[in-house]
Protein backbone atom coordinates (compact mmCIF):
# COMPACT_ATOMS: atom_id res chain seq x y z
CA UNK A 1 0.00 0.00 0.00
CA UNK A 2 2.95 2.32 0.53
CA UNK A 3 3.83 2.18 -3.13
CA UNK A 4 0.24 2.89 -4.09
CA UNK A 5 0.34 6.00 -1.98
CA UNK A 6 3.66 7.02 -3.53
CA UNK A 7 2.22 6.64 -6.97
CA UNK A 8 -0.80 8.71 -6.12
CA UNK A 9 1.44 11.39 -4.65
CA UNK A 10 3.58 11.35 -7.74
CA UNK A 11 0.58 11.57 -10.05
CA UNK A 12 -0.83 14.43 -8.02
CA UNK A 13 2.51 16.29 -8.11
CA UNK A 14 2.51 15.91 -11.90
CA UNK A 15 -0.97 17.38 -12.06
CA UNK A 16 0.13 20.37 -10.03
CA UNK A 17 3.23 21.00 -12.11
CA UNK A 18 1.24 20.65 -15.32
CA UNK A 19 -1.52 22.89 -14.10
CA UNK A 20 0.83 25.62 -12.90
CA UNK A 21 2.65 25.42 -16.21
CA UNK A 22 -0.60 25.80 -18.12
CA UNK A 23 -1.83 28.67 -15.97
CA UNK A 24 1.42 30.60 -16.16
CA UNK A 25 1.54 30.19 -19.90
CA UNK A 26 -2.06 30.72 -20.84
CA UNK A 27 -3.91 32.69 -18.20
CA UNK A 28 -2.67 36.04 -19.44
CA UNK A 29 -3.54 35.18 -22.99
CA UNK A 30 -7.12 34.41 -22.02
CA UNK A 31 -9.10 37.35 -23.34
CA UNK A 32 -12.77 38.12 -23.01
CA UNK A 33 -14.83 38.52 -26.18
CA UNK A 34 -18.10 40.43 -25.97
CA UNK A 35 -20.80 40.45 -28.61
CA UNK A 36 -22.39 43.50 -30.17
CA UNK A 37 -26.14 43.77 -30.54
CA UNK A 38 -26.10 43.46 -34.33
CA UNK A 39 -24.38 40.10 -34.06
CA UNK A 40 -27.45 38.75 -32.40
CA UNK A 41 -29.22 38.94 -35.77
CA UNK A 42 -30.66 35.75 -37.23
CA UNK A 43 -28.12 33.71 -39.15
CA UNK A 44 -25.18 34.75 -37.03
CA UNK A 45 -27.03 34.32 -33.78
CA UNK A 46 -26.70 30.59 -33.64
CA UNK A 47 -22.92 30.75 -33.92
CA UNK A 48 -22.45 33.78 -31.71
CA UNK A 49 -24.50 32.22 -28.93
CA UNK A 50 -22.55 29.01 -28.90
CA UNK A 51 -19.03 30.43 -29.29
CA UNK A 52 -16.83 30.70 -26.24
CA UNK A 53 -16.78 34.07 -24.50
CA UNK A 54 -13.08 33.67 -23.89
CA UNK A 55 -10.39 33.22 -26.48
CA UNK A 56 -6.65 32.78 -26.34
CA UNK A 57 -4.77 35.69 -27.86
CA UNK A 58 -1.22 34.53 -27.44
CA UNK A 59 1.38 37.27 -27.28
CA UNK A 60 5.12 37.59 -27.42
CA UNK A 61 7.11 40.59 -26.23
CA UNK A 62 10.72 41.00 -27.31
CA UNK A 63 13.10 43.78 -26.33
CA UNK A 64 16.22 44.79 -28.23
CA UNK A 65 18.49 47.79 -27.73
CA UNK A 66 16.42 49.90 -30.09
CA UNK A 67 12.85 48.68 -29.93
CA UNK A 68 10.20 46.54 -28.32
CA UNK A 69 8.55 44.08 -30.68
CA UNK A 70 5.15 42.66 -29.83
CA UNK A 71 3.48 39.84 -31.74
CA UNK A 72 -0.11 38.92 -31.08
CA UNK A 73 -1.97 35.98 -32.62
CA UNK A 74 -5.40 37.22 -33.73
CA UNK A 75 -6.54 35.12 -36.68
CA UNK A 76 -9.39 36.15 -38.95
CA UNK A 77 -9.29 39.93 -38.50
CA UNK A 78 -9.51 42.80 -40.94
CA UNK A 79 -6.39 44.96 -40.53
CA UNK A 80 -8.48 48.12 -40.14
CA UNK A 81 -10.45 46.65 -37.25
CA UNK A 82 -7.52 46.95 -34.83
CA UNK A 83 -7.09 49.79 -32.39
CA UNK A 84 -3.64 50.11 -30.84
CA UNK A 85 -2.53 52.59 -28.19
CA UNK A 86 0.17 52.98 -25.58
CA UNK A 87 -0.64 54.54 -22.22
CA UNK A 88 1.95 54.67 -19.45
CA UNK A 89 4.05 51.79 -20.73
CA UNK A 90 1.01 49.65 -21.28
CA UNK A 91 0.14 48.53 -24.77
CA UNK A 92 -3.59 48.23 -25.39
CA UNK A 93 -4.72 46.29 -28.44
CA UNK A 94 -8.44 46.18 -29.01
CA UNK A 95 -10.51 45.12 -31.95
CA UNK A 96 -13.58 43.46 -33.30
CA UNK A 97 -13.40 40.00 -34.74
CA UNK A 98 -16.35 39.49 -37.01
CA UNK A 99 -17.93 36.27 -38.09
CA UNK A 100 -16.81 35.75 -41.67
CA UNK A 101 -18.75 32.61 -42.35
CA UNK A 102 -21.45 32.73 -44.95
CA UNK A 103 -24.80 33.27 -43.39
CA UNK A 104 -26.26 30.04 -44.56
CA UNK A 105 -28.59 27.71 -42.78
CA UNK A 106 -26.74 25.04 -40.94
CA UNK A 107 -25.95 23.35 -37.70
CA UNK A 108 -22.74 23.82 -35.73
CA UNK A 109 -21.12 20.65 -34.40
CA UNK A 110 -18.07 22.29 -32.79
CA UNK A 111 -17.59 25.98 -31.93
CA UNK A 112 -14.24 26.78 -30.36
CA UNK A 113 -13.23 30.01 -32.12
CA UNK A 114 -14.16 33.23 -30.31
CA UNK A 115 -15.79 36.23 -32.01
CA UNK A 116 -16.70 39.72 -30.89
CA UNK A 117 -14.95 42.68 -29.32
CA UNK A 118 -11.79 42.14 -27.34
CA UNK A 119 -9.10 44.10 -25.56
CA UNK A 120 -5.66 42.87 -24.56
CA UNK A 121 -3.35 44.89 -22.32
CA UNK A 122 0.37 44.16 -22.24
CA UNK A 123 2.87 45.87 -19.96
CA UNK A 124 5.91 47.01 -21.96
CA UNK A 125 9.45 46.42 -20.68
CA UNK A 126 10.59 49.92 -21.70
CA UNK A 127 9.25 53.36 -22.50
CA UNK A 128 8.44 53.64 -26.21
CA UNK A 129 7.83 56.43 -28.68
CA UNK A 130 4.34 55.48 -29.83
CA UNK A 131 4.35 58.12 -32.61
CA UNK A 132 7.06 56.07 -34.34
CA UNK A 133 5.29 52.75 -33.90
CA UNK A 134 4.74 50.47 -36.86
CA UNK A 135 2.01 47.87 -37.18
CA UNK A 136 1.68 45.01 -39.61
CA UNK A 137 -0.96 42.31 -39.87
CA UNK A 138 -0.09 39.14 -41.75
CA UNK A 139 -1.45 35.59 -41.68
CA UNK A 140 -3.29 36.26 -38.46
CA UNK A 141 -0.39 37.79 -36.57
CA UNK A 142 -0.29 41.43 -35.54
CA UNK A 143 3.32 42.62 -35.29
CA UNK A 144 4.01 45.92 -33.55
CA UNK A 145 7.43 47.51 -33.65
CA UNK A 146 7.71 50.15 -30.97
CA UNK A 147 10.97 52.13 -31.00
CA UNK A 148 12.24 52.97 -27.55
CA UNK A 149 12.00 56.58 -26.46
CA UNK A 150 15.18 58.69 -26.60
CA UNK A 151 15.23 58.82 -22.82
CA UNK A 152 15.15 55.06 -22.64
CA UNK A 153 17.97 54.68 -25.15
CA UNK A 154 20.11 57.10 -23.18
CA UNK A 155 19.35 55.37 -19.93
CA UNK A 156 21.45 52.38 -20.83
CA UNK A 157 25.13 53.07 -21.13
CA UNK A 158 27.07 50.17 -22.55
CA UNK A 159 30.28 49.38 -20.71
CA UNK A 160 33.14 48.19 -22.86
CA UNK A 161 35.55 45.57 -21.73
CA UNK A 162 39.15 46.60 -21.22
Amino acid sequence: MTSLRQNIDRAWAQVQVGWNNLVSKASNALTRFTHREEEKAPGVRELVHSTPEWGLLAAEVHESGEAVTVRLEVPGMDADKFDVEVIDRILIVSGHKQVRHEHKEGRYHITECAYGEFERRLPLPAEVDSSQAQANYKSGILTLTLPKSEREKVRRIPVDNG
Binding site: N7, E60, V61, G76, R100, R107
Partner: protein, 146 residues
Protein backbone atom coordinates in the same frame (compact mmCIF):
# COMPACT_ATOMS: atom_id res chain seq x y z
CA UNK B 1 -12.13 -2.25 -6.27
CA UNK B 2 -12.19 -5.05 -8.82
CA UNK B 3 -10.51 -2.72 -11.29
CA UNK B 4 -7.43 -2.44 -9.12
CA UNK B 5 -7.11 -6.18 -8.72
CA UNK B 6 -5.52 -6.94 -12.07
CA UNK B 7 -3.44 -3.87 -12.57
CA UNK B 8 -3.25 -1.48 -9.66
CA UNK B 9 -1.73 1.24 -11.82
CA UNK B 10 -4.14 1.16 -14.73
CA UNK B 11 -6.25 3.87 -13.20
CA UNK B 12 -3.26 6.11 -12.61
CA UNK B 13 -1.90 5.43 -16.07
CA UNK B 14 -5.20 6.31 -17.57
CA UNK B 15 -5.38 9.46 -15.52
CA UNK B 16 -1.88 10.51 -16.53
CA UNK B 17 -2.62 9.84 -20.15
CA UNK B 18 -5.81 11.83 -20.02
CA UNK B 19 -4.08 14.69 -18.34
CA UNK B 20 -1.22 14.92 -20.80
CA UNK B 21 -3.67 14.76 -23.66
CA UNK B 22 -5.69 17.64 -22.28
CA UNK B 23 -2.70 19.75 -21.33
CA UNK B 24 -1.90 21.35 -24.70
CA UNK B 25 -5.42 22.73 -24.95
CA UNK B 26 -8.53 23.17 -22.92
CA UNK B 27 -10.79 20.86 -24.82
CA UNK B 28 -10.90 17.18 -24.08
CA UNK B 29 -11.99 15.63 -27.32
CA UNK B 30 -10.15 12.82 -29.07
CA UNK B 31 -9.24 14.98 -32.03
CA UNK B 32 -6.25 16.54 -30.30
CA UNK B 33 -3.40 14.19 -30.89
CA UNK B 34 -0.63 13.35 -28.45
CA UNK B 35 2.79 14.13 -29.83
CA UNK B 36 2.00 17.48 -31.37
CA UNK B 37 2.90 20.72 -29.62
CA UNK B 38 -0.42 22.45 -30.02
CA UNK B 39 -3.84 22.07 -31.58
CA UNK B 40 -5.81 24.73 -33.44
CA UNK B 41 -9.31 25.79 -32.43
CA UNK B 42 -12.03 24.92 -34.96
CA UNK B 43 -15.63 25.62 -35.88
CA UNK B 44 -17.46 22.85 -37.71
CA UNK B 45 -20.72 23.63 -39.44
CA UNK B 46 -22.98 21.25 -41.28
CA UNK B 47 -25.12 22.63 -44.10
CA UNK B 48 -27.58 20.86 -46.36
CA UNK B 49 -25.04 19.96 -48.99
CA UNK B 50 -21.66 20.33 -47.26
CA UNK B 51 -19.57 20.63 -44.12
CA UNK B 52 -17.53 23.78 -43.51
CA UNK B 53 -14.56 23.72 -41.12
CA UNK B 54 -12.77 26.86 -39.95
CA UNK B 55 -9.48 26.38 -38.12
CA UNK B 56 -7.50 29.16 -36.45
CA UNK B 57 -3.90 28.60 -37.55
CA UNK B 58 -2.20 32.00 -37.26
CA UNK B 59 1.42 32.37 -38.27
CA UNK B 60 1.65 29.29 -40.46
CA UNK B 61 2.16 29.68 -44.20
CA UNK B 62 -0.32 27.85 -46.43
CA UNK B 63 2.48 25.62 -47.77
CA UNK B 64 3.30 24.47 -44.23
CA UNK B 65 -0.21 23.14 -43.65
CA UNK B 66 -0.98 19.54 -44.60
CA UNK B 67 -4.50 18.34 -45.05
CA UNK B 68 -5.07 14.69 -45.72
CA UNK B 69 -7.91 12.27 -45.80
CA UNK B 70 -7.54 8.60 -45.08
CA UNK B 71 -10.12 5.99 -44.22
CA UNK B 72 -12.71 8.57 -43.37
CA UNK B 73 -10.37 10.51 -41.07
CA UNK B 74 -9.47 14.09 -41.94
CA UNK B 75 -6.10 15.25 -40.59
CA UNK B 76 -4.98 18.87 -40.41
CA UNK B 77 -1.32 19.11 -39.45
CA UNK B 78 1.78 21.20 -39.92
CA UNK B 79 4.41 23.17 -38.18
CA UNK B 80 4.69 26.72 -36.89
CA UNK B 81 8.14 28.25 -37.11
CA UNK B 82 9.14 31.51 -35.55
CA UNK B 83 8.90 34.54 -37.87
CA UNK B 84 12.18 36.18 -37.01
CA UNK B 85 15.68 35.05 -36.28
CA UNK B 86 15.77 36.95 -33.04
CA UNK B 87 18.18 36.07 -30.33
CA UNK B 88 16.80 33.86 -27.61
CA UNK B 89 17.54 36.64 -25.17
CA UNK B 90 15.35 39.67 -24.81
CA UNK B 91 12.00 37.89 -24.54
CA UNK B 92 9.79 39.24 -21.79
CA UNK B 93 6.75 37.18 -22.59
CA UNK B 94 6.23 34.03 -24.63
CA UNK B 95 2.66 32.74 -24.71
CA UNK B 96 2.74 31.46 -28.25
CA UNK B 97 3.27 27.81 -29.10
CA UNK B 98 5.62 26.70 -31.83
CA UNK B 99 6.34 23.41 -33.47
CA UNK B 100 4.03 20.77 -34.82
CA UNK B 101 0.26 20.84 -34.62
CA UNK B 102 -2.32 18.24 -35.47
CA UNK B 103 -6.03 17.76 -35.32
CA UNK B 104 -8.07 14.82 -36.53
CA UNK B 105 -11.74 14.34 -37.27
CA UNK B 106 -13.73 11.32 -38.28
CA UNK B 107 -15.97 12.35 -41.11
CA UNK B 108 -19.41 11.03 -41.84
CA UNK B 109 -19.52 8.56 -44.70
CA UNK B 110 -21.41 10.90 -46.97
CA UNK B 111 -18.47 13.29 -47.45
CA UNK B 112 -17.07 13.25 -50.96
CA UNK B 113 -13.31 13.03 -50.27
CA UNK B 114 -12.43 13.89 -53.87
CA UNK B 115 -14.10 17.28 -53.68
CA UNK B 116 -12.64 18.66 -50.43
CA UNK B 117 -11.19 22.14 -50.93
CA UNK B 118 -9.20 24.39 -48.62
CA UNK B 119 -8.24 28.05 -48.54
CA UNK B 120 -6.37 30.21 -46.07
CA UNK B 121 -6.88 33.86 -45.13
CA UNK B 122 -5.41 35.87 -42.25
CA UNK B 123 -4.54 32.77 -40.29
CA UNK B 124 -7.90 31.07 -40.73
CA UNK B 125 -8.08 27.95 -42.87
CA UNK B 126 -11.44 27.19 -44.42
CA UNK B 127 -12.20 23.65 -45.52
CA UNK B 128 -15.25 22.88 -47.59
CA UNK B 129 -16.34 19.25 -47.65
CA UNK B 130 -19.19 18.61 -50.05
CA UNK B 131 -21.53 15.79 -49.23
CA UNK B 132 -21.82 13.05 -51.80
CA UNK B 133 -24.83 13.52 -54.05
CA UNK B 134 -27.69 12.07 -52.14
CA UNK B 135 -31.12 11.11 -53.21
CA UNK B 136 -33.54 13.09 -51.16
CA UNK B 137 -36.00 10.27 -51.08
CA UNK B 138 -36.15 8.83 -47.60
CA UNK B 139 -35.36 5.17 -47.71
CA UNK B 140 -38.18 3.00 -46.78
CA UNK B 141 -37.35 -0.23 -45.16
CA UNK B 142 -40.01 -2.80 -45.11
CA UNK B 143 -40.12 -5.36 -42.42
CA UNK B 144 -40.90 -8.75 -43.73
CA UNK B 145 -42.95 -11.12 -41.85
CA UNK B 146 -40.84 -14.02 -40.77
Amino acid sequence: MTLMKNNPWSLLDEFNREFSRVLPGFADDESRVVGSNWAPAVDIKEEDDRFVIHADIPGVAAEDIDISMEKGVLTISGERKHEAEESKEGFHRIERSFGTFMRRFSLPENVDAEKISASSKEGVVELVLPKAVHDNQPKKITVNNG
